[in-house]
């Protein structure tokens, strides 16, 4: 039995009222309910306020570079696919600095759960526009608005046929922990975009702003197995914002096409240089 307490309790460097707290608690619940032991979990993050989350968990962690959580997670998962690997960071880290990695991690379909704290603003650098900021978002780096189309990460993921595409809301921890648990269980890459307020730097997309707009897909007759419908649904924004699983598909994982790790994890491979004897003989 794994309990939430196994994952420890730490003092954080987050602002009071930050959506990150709900994410941390939801994650612990999901891990406990999924029965994942801390020693068999690897949390990988980038840089940002969201990326500090592994610091507040008692489990293996690699807190890497801004934007680079997914490549580190990919290397670690391929080296030891017996680990549960979660890559978690903010919208700036995953969608801007790490945008290229996200696209290709989805294409590879490596079995990693990617959780993105999406508050539509840069927090740690104090309030600049993020890829998911609205075009009119006014900030020190977007005076009068960014005038750019906001990123649609879920539409991107569906376009790339990501096998598990979901949106959570920090104001609904029950739904969020269920989404995380399902994402971990999904064999392949899972993207969970989590709407959360930034109490310090986003005065528009507040807790109330989200609360007034979100609705749960699981409470409708929505079919998450249809890619075209899912794509359309992923663009729904503004008046109403869907949460829950937008899209599910079954694809072979990247690991399953690697012959070297079909039987045992790479880290357990036994090696002796003499294994190359026959190749040296053939070279002669």
């Amino acid at each position: 039995m794994v309990s939430r307490e196994d994952y420890g309790s730490f003092e954080t460097a987050w602002c009071p009222g930050c959506g990150n707290f709900a994410l941390l608690e939801s994650l612990k619940t999901a891990l406990a309910e999924a029965g994942i032991e801390p020693g068999k979990l690897l949390m990988v993050s980038g840089i940002g306020q969201a990326a500090k989350i592994p610091q507040y968990l008692r489990c293996n962690m690699f807190n890497g570079l801004h934007g680079r959580a997914l490549p580190v997670a990919t290397g670690a998962k391929l080296a030891n696919h017996e680990l549960t690997v979660i890559a978690e960071s903010g919208d700036g880290c995953m969608y801007s600095e790490g945008g290229n990695h996200l696209s290709h991690a989805i294409r590879r379909n490596i079995d990693i759960t990617c959780i993105v704290h999406d508050n539509q603003v840069y927090g740690l650098t104090k309030g600049q526009a993020s890829p998911t900021s609205e075009p009119e978002f006014d900030s020190g780096t977007s005076p009068g608005g960014s005038h750019m189309e906001a990123h649609h990460p879920l539409a991107l993921a569906i376009a790339l046929d990501c096998g598990f595409v979901a949106r959570g809301f920090a104001g609904d921890m029950e739904q969020l922990s269920q989404l995380i648990r399902d994402g971990i269980k999904h064999p392949g890459f899972a993207l969970i975009d989590v709407l959360q307020p930034c109490v310090s730097f986003n005065g528009i997309n507040t807790f109330k702003w989200y609360k007034d707009r979100v609705y749960k897909l699981e409470e409708t007759d929505y079919d998450s197995g249809n890619r075209s419908i899912a794509f359309e649904k992923s663009l729904e924004w503004g008046g109403k914002i869907p949460t829950g699983v937008l899209y599910r598909a079954s694809r072979n994982t990247f690991e399953s096409s690697e012959p070297a790790i079909a039987k045992i994890p790479l880290v357990k491979r036994e090696w002796n240089p003499q294994n190359l004897r026959s190749i040296v003989d053939k070279m002669k």
Binding site: F62, N63, M283
Partner: protein, 571 residues
């Protein structure tokens, strides 16, 4: 004829220069010669003018030679560009149907490669084999050996292909034998030397795999791509995981992730890709994750000359990244040294938990080399200090302060250790901190590992007489041309020795300084425009070279050219 056979095969990209030269190299190796073949190519897939510059010799050959014995022309440009390089009594082979206005003279031998192939073997496809037959007749190889070789080379393609090629080779061989029999022959060795032949890129990949490296992530970039391709080719039989990353940033971060999780991991690239990797280099350093990076230099900056060679990334490799941390930079001179450098690189990386850069270049990776069969007994695997503790997993301290700076590693999944790694400054357990005291202690911990790296640094190797009056210093692949250049230089009366630097960092200086102080005159030979090694040695020893001999046209030194430069008084 000289103790080496000097051959150039020129043609357009896509004309089969690679396969002709590989076949020729295979044959020369098989009769017991050492072979070296440099690829001089343009960055294009079809057309242009490329050539392979090959030397075959009884002694190990690490360089082509300027004066040619045989020039095989597959295009008109080869005749006009390279005929002057062919020595008196040498041979220029060309097809008059291809070069109708071709020059006349005793060294030119016109042979209708394509027409003969069509007539004797039924297909123009075997035109190049006609040329090989003629070249080897001129060199004095027995036809039986040639024919047996063709059987082996084309055996997998079926009996008809073998027969056709033998017929084509025989036609070329007999015509050349008839007209060129009066020429001096190359003396083929009586005793067959056992060698292996492969590209430097494959030697590097093979060295890594032998050392237990099981993970490579990389992005294709000339001239390093051959390394990653070798890994992909052997994924299944050798149990490797190879990933073509979306970019070099991903490549280095994936390798770091794999190494953190417990496997020997590497990435390979050229200078442009390494530029993108630099932030990751610092990540490996602060997280103390062992990492091996092969940087195969090409002329820069930016795209530079993509398919050519240079040694201009030395100071960059040594200094790359913000912040301060220990690293090692190995600079092997040949494919064989590069093979050995890989196991050293992994052992150093894991023992000291640092990034190790193996700095090679297009000359090493793209050239074909023969050498003694790799001795797998020489490959040792030292994974460094590993955590063997038990108890509360959360008590494991990944960055425990140690006198030598080396804290035992554990890997995630170890029931006795939770492994925290952080790109932020961190405490002994690996948790983020801004404590001034911890910062000082962790910087000191990392920096102390440098002392160990210094103590294990490969010393420069002296080639030539101990009682030299002049010392010539080089590093990396210039060794190949410098060794014969020094022979020529000494034959002219110079009392000179060569000092080759196989490890550029840490370069503590004493061995280099001692060698330099013994010399009346010192020269540093490099393939770059500012003399980077000369600057590094000055920084480390305070000693200035009397002269630096530099080349930065994207082409390697040839021994004769370098010997002439050495022979000049002033620089």
């Amino acid at each position: 004829m000289s103790p080496h056979l000097s051959i150039k095969i020129g043609g357009e990209a896509g004309q089969g220069i690679q396969s002709v030269s590989r076949l020729l190299a295979d044959m020369l190796q098989d009769v017991g010669l050492h072979v070296f073949a440099y690829q001089n190519k343009e960055s294009r897939i079809r057309g242009g003018h490329n050539f392979v510059h090959m030397a075959a010799a009884v002694e190990p050959a690490f360089s082509a030679r300027r004066d040619l014995d045989i020039l095989i022309c597959l295009d008109a440009a080869s005749v006009s560009l390279h005929s002057d390089e062919v020595r008196e009594n040498g041979l220029v082979l060309f097809d008059p149907d291809l070069v109708p206005e071709g020059p006349e003279g005793s060294k030119y031998f016109k042979l209708k490669f394509a027409a003969i192939a069509k007539e004797k073997a039924g297909s123009k496809v075997m035109a190049n084999t006609v040329a090989i037959g003629a070249a080897l007749a001129y060199a004095g190889m027995d036809f039986e050996i040639l024919s047996a070789q063709l059987g082996r080379f084309f055996g997998s393609k079926g009996e008809d292909v073998v027969k056709g090629n033998i017929a084509a080779a025989r036609a070329g061989y007999e015509l050349a034998a008839e007209y060129l029999s009066h020429r001096a022959k190359f003396s083929f060795p009586e005793k067959k030397q056992e060698t292996v032949m492969l590209s430097g890129a494959h030697a590097i990949a093979f060295g890594a795999i032998a050392s237990g490296c099981s993970f490579l992530s990389a992005y294709p970039m000339s001239p390093a791509t051959g390394i990653m391709e070798y890994f992909f080719a052997h994924r299944e039989d050798l149990g490797l995981v190879a990933v073509q990353a979306e970019d070099e940033i991903a490549a280095i971060n994936m390798a770091i992730g794999a190494s953190y999780a417990g496997v020997r991991a590497m990435t390979s690239t050229s200078g442009g890709g390494f530029s993108l990797m630099v932030e990751g280099l610092g990540l490996a350093a602060i997280t103390e994750t062992p990492l091996v990076i092969v940087e195969a230099q090409r002329p820069g900056p930016a795209t530079g000359l993509p398919t050519r060679t240079e040694q201009a990334d030395l100071l960059f490799a040594i200094h790359a990244s913000q912040g301060e941390f220990p690293r090692a930079v190995l600079t092997p001179g040949t494919a064989g040294q590069a093979f050995a450098a890989m196991s050293r690189a992994f052992n150093l990386a894991e023992k000291y938990q640092v990034p190790v850069i193996v700095l090679v270049d297009q000359y090493i990776t793209d050239s074909i080399w023969t050498q003694e069969p790799f001795n797998l007994d020489d490959v040792t695997i030292d994974r460094g200090s590993l955590y063997a503790g038990s108890g509360d997993a959360a008590e494991y301290k990944r960055y425990a302060l140690a006198a030598d700076g080396i804290s035992p590693r554990a890997f995630p999944g170890n029931p006795n250790a939770l492994v925290y790694a952080d790109s932020d400054e961190h405490d002994e357990s690996g948790r983020i901190t801004e404590s001034a005291e911890v910062r000082i202690s962790q910087v000191g911990k990392r920096e102390r590992k440098f002392e160990g790296l210094v103590s294990e640094a490969a010393q420069p190797v002296l080639y030539g007489p101990e009682d030299y009056e002049e010392l010539v210093v080089c590093w990396g692949s210039v060794l190949g041309a410098a060794l014969p250049a020094l022979d020529i230089y000494r034959a002219g009366g110079a009392k000179a020795a060569l000092l080759h630097i196989e490890q550029a960092w840490p370069l503590t200086g004493s061995a280099v300084a001692d060698a330099m102080k013994k010399a009346g005159r010192t020269s540093c030979v490099e393939l770059n425009s500012i003399g980077q090694m000369a600057r590094l040695i000055r920084a480390q020893t305070g000693l200035e070279f009397d002269r630096v001999i530099l080349k930065y046209d994207g082409r390697p030194f040839l021994p004769e050219e370098l010997a002439e430069e050495l022979g000049k008084e002033a620089h």
